[in-house]
């Protein structure tokens, strides 16, 4: 994982991801913001490939680009008369200032500490290792996550049921 190709890929991906994230912030039309968001997700997936976490990269693309981005698109479509101009609230300026300070702190910490890193690529990062880890050492959180997903599923359906559907079920 060394040589010219990797650093070239890193700088290209960094540029794409950060520009797309900026696009989400800046673009006037909400739908353009969503499309920039999708581009960011793809960029982050590219980073995962660079960090040799290919299962996570594929999972990221399937879950984020395939499902969550489409969920956001649906939300935008189902709220036709809401303002779609991606405008700012009154708290925009303080929010941006806060995040700039936070960024400063993060960057200082990153570049100040001497990270003790390994040199080669660690073994045991393949999909099968992830599978065994998930089902042996991490099996309890794995089950809790599935319960959480079902709860979210039921919750989302309950929230968006229209009165007619509830009336129908009351009769049934």
């Amino acid at each position: 994982m060394d040589g010219f190709g990797v650093s070239l890929a890193f700088w290209v991906l960094a540029a794409i991801t950060l520009v797309a994230a900026g696009g989400v912030m800046v673009s006037r039309n909400l739908l353009h913001a969503v499309l920039f968001l999708i581009l960011t997700f793809v960029g982050v997936a590219g980073f995962f490939v660079l960090l040799s976490a290919d299962f996570i990269a594929m999972a990221q693309v399937i879950i984020y680009v395939g499902a969550i981005a489409v969920l956001v698109l649906f939300a935008v479509l189902l709220t036709p008369r809401a303002s779609r101009d991606n405008g700012e609230t009154r708290w925009a300026l303080p929010g941006v200032l806060l995040s700039v300070c936070l960024a400063a702190i993060f960057l200082f910490v990153i570049h100040d500490t001497a990270w003790k890193t390994r040199d080669g690529v660690p073994q045991g990062l393949s999909a099968s290792d992830l599978g065994t880890a998930l089902l042996t050492t991490w099996v309890v959180p794995f089950e809790i996550a599935s319960v959480l997903l079902t709860a979210a599923l039921v919750g989302a359906i309950m929230l968006t049921r229209s009165p007619e559907e509830e009336a129908e079920d009351a009769l049934a």
Partner: protein
């Protein structure tokens, strides 16, 4: 020169702060959710970076944690958007400023 741990961490930090800025400054509820999604992505990136670069007996822990963050993010996105649609149905607006029913 090949990208080391600082490079990935800086990208993660910048992404996190951009997500925070978006979440705080957007008027539309869906915009806020997009900011939150960006922050979660940044966290995932940092986790994977540590799993790849730091010396640890089983580096796969970082990956499992990212899987859990993915599921939570998906669940949270679903509920948040359902909330936005429900609020829109009652208020015909999802402007974060004008949703101030609890104010005195």
């Amino acid at each position: 020169m090949t990208p080391g741990i600082e490079h990935f961490l800086t990208v993660g930090a910048l992404l996190f702060c951009l997500g925070l800025a978006i979440a705080l400054s957007k008027r539309n509820a869906v915009g806020v959710l997009m900011g939150v999604e960006l922050m979660l992505n940044a966290v995932n990136l940092t986790l994977i970076t540590f799993s790849r670069f730091t010396v640890s007996p089983n580096p796969i822990a970082g990956h499992t944690f990212v899987v859990f963050v993915l599921t939570v993010a998906a669940a949270e996105a679903a509920v948040a958007l359902a909330l936005a649609v429900a609020v829109y149905r009652n208020r015909e607006t999802i402007d974060v400023d004008r949703l101030n029913l609890l104010r005195s």
